[in-house]
Amino acid sequence: MTTPEILPLGPDGILVRFADALSEPANRAALAFRALVDDAAPDGVTETATSLTSALIRFLPNHVRRADLEQVLGDIAEARDWSDAPLPDGRTLWHIPALFEGPDAPDLEAVAREIGRDPDTAIAELTAEPLRVLALGFAPGQPYLGFLPDHWNIPRRTEVTPEVPRGAVVVAVRQVIPFANAAPTGWWQVGRTAFRCHDPAADPPIALKPGDELRFRGVTADDFARLSDAPRGGAEEEAIG
């Protein structure tokens, strides 16, 4: 992978972009780069974050000059080959129960047709492997999960659904998102989880971190009804180093 681009994002932000199309190595590189910046803790940096393929570094322009900070970030960027960047330490694998049938899976059959499988196979594939939290975005704690197998590279719907409920499990372009809040979406809803991406009653309220993994487990409608009051919607966590 080539050296990332270092770009301005607002007068107090620097975007370090590893790719402008989504890829697994670029996501891994962004996570690893942010971890190195956090370790280096350059003077004047107020915030670091990762998106799908970039790291954002926010700074105080009255403490550090952009050019000087860009130099520091450039040195970190050139210190290694990003194509084999390791995942960050201290990650968690989350096992998350979800319902993939009935009114909470309105687009399951259409998705099954899009990927050329039957609905049961589609659910089996959705729950077969852990998916990585590529980034948190749009709403607090809401993960973009990837990647499903290649045949899941299906486009968004042509019509936007006016509203899916909180916990809706939606898919498109090899990714899965459990929605943090009720929201309109162009993605396909194939299920629903009681896990709350932002849970004011839990500590911490936002459980997931970029780099964590998440594996869905299919449950029955009866089990799902019981999970709505369970801590973290019945999610179980497992350390993965």
Binding site: L9, G10, P11, A21, A49, L52, S54, N62, L136, P140
Partner: protein, 331 residues
């Protein structure tokens, strides 16, 4: 100590300096849509940055002060009366317990601010008190709400005012961002040459701009991955319509952005009324860096320009009563 809402406009909410540091969690900063006006309210009230105010878009409401306290009024001027007597905007006032504060329509802009006492004392969530719709935090204020207020830090301080900001008419300054070069030279030149009109479609998330020419399209944008958004970004939607993103913007987005409005000019976008015309001009990253001012420095500057509020004797219907109002009562 509290404030009760007896009547309320459709887009009134609690706002503060926002929740910084949450980009990696999917949480944009939010906070006051006109940050400069919010800081003016903090200066008038003598409260620290982060104190919670009431932000009123277009129209205020009727508020009853349950204890004697100072209130600060800032942002775009709105018609305001205390028990029927007009009070100055961009000023602080002592308001007696039981008084009714009426705040009507904005006259020249969109966002006005009311900061009572030491700020509102509603519970914090994720490090802030503000309503952030797309983040699912808080809600708009409603009739019947009773909001706790922190004690006035200086109840005996003489009421102050700020000079009305001089209107700025030059082009809004825009710095380049990560996607600016997706727009070719001609498109960027046309962007600077175009007179836009602020659409009626606007909220705390963003302001839509209208114009009569061709849409502002970037090169191939369909496969481009979503990436970080900055407050002030000018996003071109699928049909090439510009939206300037404000405090409650999403953290990531896939639409290309031609540049970022400088924080110092963003209040002009937030305060633009429907139909108002707007022009833009690119500045370099270096210019943008030089023009950056911290909130703390802005507050210092505002505090230096505070001046005593001189009352108009004709507005004092009963000078003896007036003197009593001037002495704060205990809660």
């Amino acid at each position: 100590m509290s404030l009760s809402i007896q009547r309320i406009g459709p887009a009134v909410s609690i706002q503060d300096a926002g929740r910084a540091g949450g980009m990696g969690l999917g949480l944009s900063r939010g906070g006051a849509a006109d940050r400069l006006a919010y800081l003016a309210a903090c200066a008038l009230a003598g409260v620290p940055i982060g104190s919670a105010a009431i932000e009123m878009a277009g129209f205020g409401g009727r508020f009853r002060l349950e204890a004697t306290t100072r209130i600060a009024l800032a942002g775009t001027p709105m018609r305001a009366t205390v028990d029927g007597a007009p009070v100055a905007w961009n000023a602080a006032h002592i308001v007696e317990a039981g008084s009714i504060l009426d705040i009507g329509a904005a006259e020249k802009g969109v966002y006005g601010y009311l900061l009572p006492g030491g700020g509102l004392d509603t519970p914090e969530e994720l490090g802030g008190r503000g309503f952030h719709r797309i983040a699912g935090l808080g809600r708009a204020l409603e009739e019947g709400d009773r909001l706790p207020i922190l004690p006035d830090p200086a109840p005996d301080a003489p009421p102050m005012r700020l000079p009305a900001p001089s209107p700025e008419t030059g082009p809004i300054r825009v710095m380049p961002g990560p996607q600016t070069t997706l727009f070719n030279d001609d498109t960027r030149a046309r962007f600077e040459a175009t007179t836009f009109t602020r659409s009626a479609k606007a909220n705390r998330q963003g302001v839509r701009l209208e114009q009569e020419g061709d849409p502002f399209s970037a090169g191939s944008q369909l496969q481009r991955v979503s990436d970080f958004i900055s407050e002030g970004d000018i996003q071109m939607t699928g049909d090439g319509t510009p939206y300037v993103l404000l405090a409650d913007c999403q953290t990531m987005g896939g639409y290309p952005r031609i540049g970022t409005v400088l924080p110092g000019d963003l209040p002009r976008i937030a305060q633009a009324m429907p139909g108002q015309t707007l022009r833009f001009r690119f500045v370099t990253v270096e210019e943008a860096e030089a023009l950056w001012i911290s909130d703390a420095d802005t507050l210092k500057r505002l505090k230096k320009s505070l001046m005593p509020l001189v009352r108009d004797p004709r507005a004092m219907t009963d000078l003896l009563t007036y003197e009593l109002i001037g002495k704060p009562l205990s809660d």
